[in-house]
């Protein structure tokens, strides 16, 4: 950016070497100076939001209008809220992009690459006064024209915004004095001796034309250990997802917390193993006494692999709401081989029979079947997707997911899915019984389930 031209007005124009902003006529005391400071640091739109949320909170009803253009390499990030317009002339000199801030609840954003010029305008204000020039500071204005003499960035772009700003800053074509010289309203300016309390202001404001970036408060500083150029961290710390707040210790890498001895990890990722539910790799185990910090000793050789017979499959704990049957229920059913937490996958199991619906639909019982008005399957492994059978229920007596029929070994279990109207089991030579909601019941051949509204399910071919 090679300086700006502005036209006098009532709004606050904030100009720094890497960003330009327009703020309303009436703003919180000292706000424009804080905005100037954060933009001068290179904090861009995020920095503006920091200052504005600090002053106005997060409620949109009290949030002020703004327009901001932040330059990052050859990119310009634009955000506009309220009765303002940002007009962009692209590098080919012809295309005009206009970004308005009204008709949106929050703001509008756009990123343009290598623009030729960008103009910030207060809507409905005709700027008739002669444009004046400035390079940095705060002015009262109604329009700011940012002329980018050379759209080509001085330095090659990198992903890191912090490393990219300084080269172009020296190319200030407009020769003006310190910001004071071009400031019309001294009370709102970013002059260091005003006693403002701005983080980093001492360094930044002491010499506003010193273009060395200040990194102390940079947005990236909290995560430099993760994304900075220096990679001194160990593998396991690189795996750490940083927590959202700075004061919280590093969390652990994703590990299969419930897999216990069945965890199979590539040797490259050390995993701390704990019995039961807390196998988590942690760099520094500050999270709790439940974590083990001595990682190197716990590298799990991949040979550990298959779980012992007593280890349930890792996915089973989390799955199948309502899949559990009580011990008492099991005993009533006199089934010693059925394990509540061990649904048997369909693969390789001989079809255990079929069901015939009163609608004429049939389904082979090679896997779980869910019948209802609008049946859904919930939280199942991809290789165990149930059959979903929809049945008509004009009176909506039948629940969306009404009854689940599943195969466990050579047994068939039926379970009413906590329905409003229940499910009746009719067994030959026995009085009908209502299925216990949420509890599985063993099904015998020729049993009939009555879902209501004349919809029945008949079991056939069971061993």
């Amino acid at each position: 950016m090679t300086g700006v031209e502005y036209v006098s007005g009532d709004w606050h124009g904030v100009v720094t070497s890497s960003a330009v902003a327009l703020l309303p006529e009436k703003i919180a005391p000292g706000l424009s100076a804080r905005v100037w400071a954060t933009l001068e640091k290179g904090a861009g739109f995020s920095g503006l939001l920091d200052v504005l949320t600090e002053a106005y909170g997060t409620s949109l009803s009290s949030f002020p209008s703004f327009a901001v253009v932040a330059f990052d390499g050859d990119e310009a990030r634009i955000a506009v809220r309220g009765p303002l317009t940002v007009e962009v002339i692209e590098s080919d000199g012809t295309a005009l992009q206009s970004i308005g801030g009204d008709r949106v609840t929050t703001w509008n954003e756009s990123v343009v690459v290598a623009p030729r010029s960008i103009t910030l305008i207060v809507k409905g204000v005709t700027a008739s006064a002669e444009p004046l020039m400035m390079s940095s500071g705060v002015v009262r204005c109604s329009r700011i024209d940012t002329v980018l003499a050379d759209a080509t960035p001085d330095a090659e772009r990198t992903w890191n915004a912090e490393s990219d700003r300084s080269p172009s800053r020296a190319a200030t074509a407009v020769s003006v004095g310190p910001p004071e010289a071009s400031i019309e309203n001294a009370e709102e300016t970013a002059i260091p001796d005003k006693g403002m309390t701005v983080p980093g202001e001492e360094e930044t404001l002491a010499d506003p034309l010193d273009f060395e970036p200040s990194t102390d408060e940079s947005p990236s500083s909290n995560y430099d250990d993760l994304w900075g150029a220096t990679i001194a961290t160990s593998v396991e710390s690189a795996a750490v997802r940083p927590l959202a707040e700075d004061d919280v210790p590093d969390a652990a890498t994703p590990a299969s917390a419930r897999q216990s001895a069945s965890v199979v990890s590539p040797p490259i990722l050390p995993v701390a193993i704990l019995p039961v539910t807390r196998a988590v790799a942690a760099e520094q185990a500050p999270l709790a006494a439940t974590m083990i910090s001595g990682i190197p000793a716990f590298g799990v050789p991949s040979a550990v692999a298959p779980a012992s017979a007593s280890q349930p499959h890792p996915t089973e704990h989390n799955d199948h709401d309502g899949e559990t049957i009580s011990v008492a229920q099991l005993q009533r059913m006199q089934t010693t081989e059925v394990h509540a937490a061990t649904p048997v996958a369909s693969a390789g199991v001989k079809p255990a029979g079929k069901i015939i619906l009163s609608t004429g639909d049939e389904a082979i019982l090679d896997r779980t079947v869910i019948i209802g008005r609008r049946p859904r399957a919930t939280r199942v492994p991809g290789n165990q997707m149930p059959h979903l059978l929809a049945v008509p229920s004009p009176l909506q007596d039948i629940s969306r997911s009404h009854v689940e029929i599943r195969v466990e070994g050579s047994h068939i279990l039926a379970q009413d899915l906590d329905t409003t109207n229940g499910t009746i089991l009719r067994r030959v030579d026995e009085p009908p019984i209502r299925l216990h909601p949420g509890e599985a019941t063993m099904i015998a051949n020729h049993d009939v389930l009555d879902l209501g509204e004349g919809i029945t399910v008949t079991f056939s071919g069971l061993s």
């Binding site: 927590l243 008005r373 399957a377 979903l388 909506q396």
Partner: protein, 281 residues
């Protein structure tokens, strides 16, 4: 239960997508795919660009499926399998076993001639459904905090501030072999699907999210607004939001029984009580 690939999708959708690196991060490790019939969000992890690469690679594995009217569960599973292979290869190439990503979202499918959603989840990104003004979290986080809640060791109300809330228990890559959870859910006219990374849910609670989804009628407006609100409320993480609206559905004419059942269901999901069946038995 197998869908017919040749049948055009019996569902009309509108969608919007928005993403932002947030106010504190220097990179955006989220990736997303928003095109019929797939709407996915991936939140990469691993640091030093590994996260960006991993999430983008996982999403890329699903690109060949874009343009199909509907997908089968098996097609989604195969793409997921490809995604896992790619991410593991990337982790090897980067020499970082930490490279990994979450994945969640929806794919259009059919069940018995009616439009359905396949919902998929690995990790702590989330898929929600808004129907009749009520927001339902469909996916269940693979997170330590979620497991503690389910085991009764942690109250839901404390989950948002628990220091362990960013520990996930399943992912694609990141040294993890966890399997994805699947759901099959009927797709109804007027419903709105929300798919997001935890940069949204870390900043806005369900009530705030619901309010925005109800206020912003356009899908893109809703996605933008949610990302902006997350920024306003701190923007501590990358935030990605997809909003998918079901504009219309039709059921298969070849299946009259199913077609009948769908009539009227779009706007009323209540089951009406009736007299006790047992009275007659």
């Amino acid at each position: 239960m197998s869908h017919d690939q040749a049948v055009p999708a019996r569902i009309r959708l509108a969608w919007g997508a928005s993403t932002d690196r947030g106010r504190r991060r220097t990179t955006n490790e989220d990736s997303f795919l928003a095109d019929h019939p797939l709407f996915l969000v991936a939140d990469g992890m691993g640091g030093h660009e590994a996260g960006e690469v991993a999430s983008a690679a996982a999403i890329s594995a699903f690109l060949p499926l874009v343009g199909n009217p509907t997908l089968s569960v098996d097609e989604v599973r195969e793409a997921l399998s490809a995604a896992k292979s790619t991410v593991f290869a990337i982790a090897d190439a980067l020499g970082s076993g930490a490279a990994g990503t979450t994945l969640t979202g929806v794919a259009v499918t059919e069940q018995g001639g009616s439009p359905y959603w396949i919902v998929i989840n690995l990790g702590d990104s989330r898929t929600y459904m808004l129907a009749d003004g009520v927001l339902e979290q469909v996916s269940v986080d693979h997170s330590l905090v979620q497991e503690l809640i389910e085991s009764g060791e942690l109250e839901q109300s404390h989950a948002g501030v628990d220091p362990r809330r960013n520990v996930i228990t399943r992912a694609i890559g990141a040294g993890n072999q966890g399997e994805a959870d699947f759901w099959l859910i009927p797709a109804n006219t007027g419903e709105r699907i929300l798919i997001c990374s935890d940069g949204l849910t870390g900043e806005l609670d369900d009530a705030a999210i619901t309010m925005v989804l109800l206020e912003e009628t356009g899908a893109q407006d809703a996605a933008n607004r949610l990302v902006h609100e997350a920024l306003l409320h701190g923007g501590r993480d990358n935030v990605t939001v997809l909003v998918v609206d079901v504009l219309g559905t039709a059921t298969g004419e070849s299946d009259p029984e199913t077609a009948k059942t769908a009539v009227g269901d779009d706007y009323s999901d209540d089951t009406y009580p009736r007299e006790q069946l047992l009275a007659g038995g």
